[in-house]
């Protein structure tokens, strides 16, 4: 009897486990919401990925495959103008779906009256989706009202940080030097900022006709990072000071001053190009393409791309090699970069949408590894081949025909990175990115609490304060760096911080810190 009971219990447990396994939702389950309804339907969509050559749905491989799989098509409108979205919201003209990046846009849309809350939609139309979503992604996107209105793309969570095979963004800021000139100088070691100074100086003596150091506005943060100024992906960014309080990255005088003084020294000695401080991406590329830049600060990916472009020019001797480390200052490694992983873009289902259920089902589809790869790499076998475990693009089809990297409504970072690495694998000469993204990863720390701090919303008091502070930052820092004498520079620094104080920096810092402490105690439980 006992044997029988045990057997029976074992059987029941087995059956239970088995049936549980059966009902456990996976990406291939049959009960997924998007598989239930594949009727053709069209929604209107607005997005601001203005660089993509696809402004119509259904003309490229990716969107065609998505429609085949789900029945959904979109009537697409691309942003013409940065004020459009706010005007649409104010005028009640939002289309049914909005896919945008940018903190201000996200703030605008993440509002219960404007967009559907995903948690409610999931409960109503696709409850099995709860099993499929990573809790940390939800945590990132949850607003103070308890709802989340999207799940961001390209989120980097703990799993990502723990994986040694994953590198940082290939947009990482690095310093690149002309290889031939470095060889002329005897391939000096560059480990500290003083080494950098010496190398730049030596290069100038050797080649006075060259532009020694180009530091563009947007991608020139390598040097400031060496001094401990945290990289601020979003300008409202906060950092933690020695007292454990959150404060604005650019309000830290003791951190910012050494950097400003060093950059000013480079400028005064003719090593830093004044004009380059105002360059945008294309102008920086133009300067490099002109062939007489010794050193430039840019994104990791640019190094390979611009080397490739230079290679195509007849009689070209320029090849740039990127520095694979961050420099120390006075023997200390000051770099203080914390990456939260706020994600890149969000897909919002607005209250004007007639059938939100279909769209939330589409999101379920988009989150699957299959769709993730589809929307970021292209149609398998058609648009790419797998080489050494990385996707390598098929050159037969243009970007416009493939349609990747636009409709990636629930893209993951890991999949995107693999593509960058795959592209870099094609030619070793143009594959520095693959190394750089791993070289720079150790410099980053991960602090989820920091990343949850929200930007100051526009049209609030803190928002107005921040607008003034940010304007001061943008307009004063370059003037300080281009001061003609050391005294002028120091005076400029004093005036800058005095101006920040009278523009109520303390109000903004308090705003950041209050949030941080609240988030910290919330997550500590």
């Amino acid at each position: 009897m006992k044997k029988f009971t045990t057997l029976l219990m074992a059987l029941i447990i087995c059956l239970f486990a088995f049936s549980n396994a059966l009902t456990q939702t996976t990406w291939d389950s049959d009960n997924l919401a998007w598989k239930q309804n594949k009727d053709p339907i069209t929604f209107s969509l607005y997005h601001n990925m203005t660089w993509a050559p696809m402004d119509v749905w259904g003309k490229d491989h990716v969107s065609q495959r998505v429609t085949e799989d789900t029945g959904i098509s979109f009537d697409v409108e691309i942003q013409s103008n940065a004020q459009q979205l706010a005007t649409y919201v104010a005028g009640g003209q939002l289309p049914e779906a909005v896919f945008v990046f940018g903190g201000a846009n996200k703030d605008l849309l993440e509002n219960y009256d404007i967009c559907y809350a995903w948690d409610e939609l999931i409960d109503q139309y696709a409850p099995e989706m709860w099993d499929l979503i990573d809790k940390s992604d939800i945590q990132l996107a949850t607003k103070s009202d308890g709802h989340f209105y999207t799940l961001y793309t390209h989120v980097r969570n703990q799993e990502y940080w723990d994986d040694p095979g994953q590198g940082v963004s290939y947009g990482e800021n690095v310093l690149s030097f002309r290889q031939d000139v470095l060889e002329e100088l005897g391939n000096p070691e560059i480990n500290t900022v003083d080494d950098l100074y010496n190398v730049l100086k030596a290069a100038k003596e050797l080649h006075p006709e060259m532009v020694i150091y180009v530091q563009p506005e947007l991608n020139g943060t390598y040097l400031s990072r060496c001094f401990g100024v945290p990289y601020s992906g979003t300008q409202g960014a906060a950092t933690i000071n020695d007292n454990g309080e959150a404060e604005w990255v650019f309000g830290q005088k003791d951190v910012l001053s050494p950097y400003l003084e060093f950059a000013n020294k480079l400028f005064r000695e003719g090593l830093l190009s004044q004009e380059s401080l105002t360059y945008d991406q294309e102008q920086c590329k133009a300067a490099v393409m002109a062939g007489n830049v010794f050193c430039y600060a840019g994104q990791a990916y640019d190094v390979d791309q611009w080397n490739k472009a230079l290679d195509a020019v007849d009689g070209n001797k320029a090849y740039y090699v990127a520095l694979r480390k961050i420099l120390t200052v006075d023997g200390e490694l000051l770099v203080n970069d914390t990456w939260g992983s706020p994600g890149f873009a969000g897909f919002y289902i607005t209250r004007n949408c007639k059938e939100p259920g279909r769209l939330i089902a589409l999101m379920e589809y988009m989150r699957s590894p299959y769709a993730d790869k589809l929307t970021q790499w292209g149609v398998p076998e058609l648009d790419y081949d797998m080489v050494d475990g990385f996707p390598v693009q098929n050159e037969d089809y243009s970007w416009k025909e493939r349609g990747d990297n636009v409709w990636y409504f629930q893209a993951s970072f890991a999949v995107e990175n693999m593509k960058a690495l795959g592209t870099a694998l094609k030619d070793e000469r143009f594959a520095q990115t693959a190394h750089l993204v791993l070289d720079y990863k150790p410099y980053w720390k991960y602090d989820v609490n920091l990343s949850l701090i929200a930007n100051a919303e526009a049209n609030t008091y803190e928002g107005d304060v921040f607008a003034t502070l940010d304007n001061l930052r943008k307009t004063r820092m370059s003037s300080i760096i281009t001061a003609k004498t050391e005294e002028e520079c120091k005076q400029g620094i004093e005036e800058f911080f005095a101006a920040l104080d009278s523009a109520e920096l303390d109000v903004y810092n308090k705003f950041l810190n209050d949030q941080y402490q609240a988030i910290k105690s919330r997550n500590a439980e």
Binding site: Q83, A86, V89, A104, N111, S273, A458, N459
Partner: protein, 328 residues
Amino acid sequence: MSVINKAKEKSNYKARIKRSLRRFYAQRWLQLFAILGFVYILIFNYLPMLGIQIAFKSYKPSMGFKGMFTAPLARNYGFYHFISFLKDPNFSIVMRNTVGLSLMKLFFSFPVPILFALALNEMRHIKIKRIVQTVSYLPHFISWVIVYGILFSFLNTSNGVINSLLQSLGKEKMEFLTGKEYYYTIAVISDIWKEMGWWSIIFLAAISGIDQTQYEAAKVDGASRFRCIWSITLPNIKSTIMIVLILAIGSLIRGGMGGSNFDQSYLLGNSLNYERSVTLPYYVYEMGLAQQRFSYATAIGLFQSVISLLLVLISNYVSDKLTGSSLF
């Protein structure tokens, strides 16, 4: 007695109304044209002006259209945005640049189209005249974005022509694009270049409407060509000149003849020459619209509008007194 006076007044009053009605009927067509236009601008211009009220409120786009009316009053009795603007660290440089640049543009760009129209008028070869006139307005079509691109190509320090020339002559490179000291010059010159041909068209049109018999008479009297220009051409287009001048003064804040302050600040301005390049129209965009701060943008826009209107009224009055021609 008073009863009779009152009766007289009443009959006067009635007579006046009758006269007015008759006058109105006599000009009924003109009144129709005028009223049509008036009603039109009431609907399409005055109705939307209700939106100006958000300058005094704390409006957020998420409040929607209704929010324009229901949004709470801003701090400081609704003047919060205006006070913010006055307290802004950049207030003085914004105003200084706007006034300085605009005055310079007015002073230099205003006479040039007139002089050019006069010069063209004196040309003998009709074919060449037409070609030159056609070509002169081309810059108007080159958008400021492209103008900036052209200036960048020529003036930049890494491979620009001008700097390469300077270098080969042994001189130092000049930071045209980022140096504070160059901005005003570049802005004014490029404004003249861009708008001269276009604005000369109005003056050419005015010149071509001048009665030829005046010239014939003058020639018979032995007047020199210069005399003709001075005594016939100019006075005849005086009213056109004054009207365009008044309008130009009205759009002083927008800059130059074509409102170039914004585009120039946006394109030619950057963080290094900010102190000289930021102007009010650009500031409204940078600190207002670009940050979705509709209330703030509207407040400063209102400030700008009031100043412009005052300028128009003043210049209209002065023009009336000095030259007898005016807008109204």
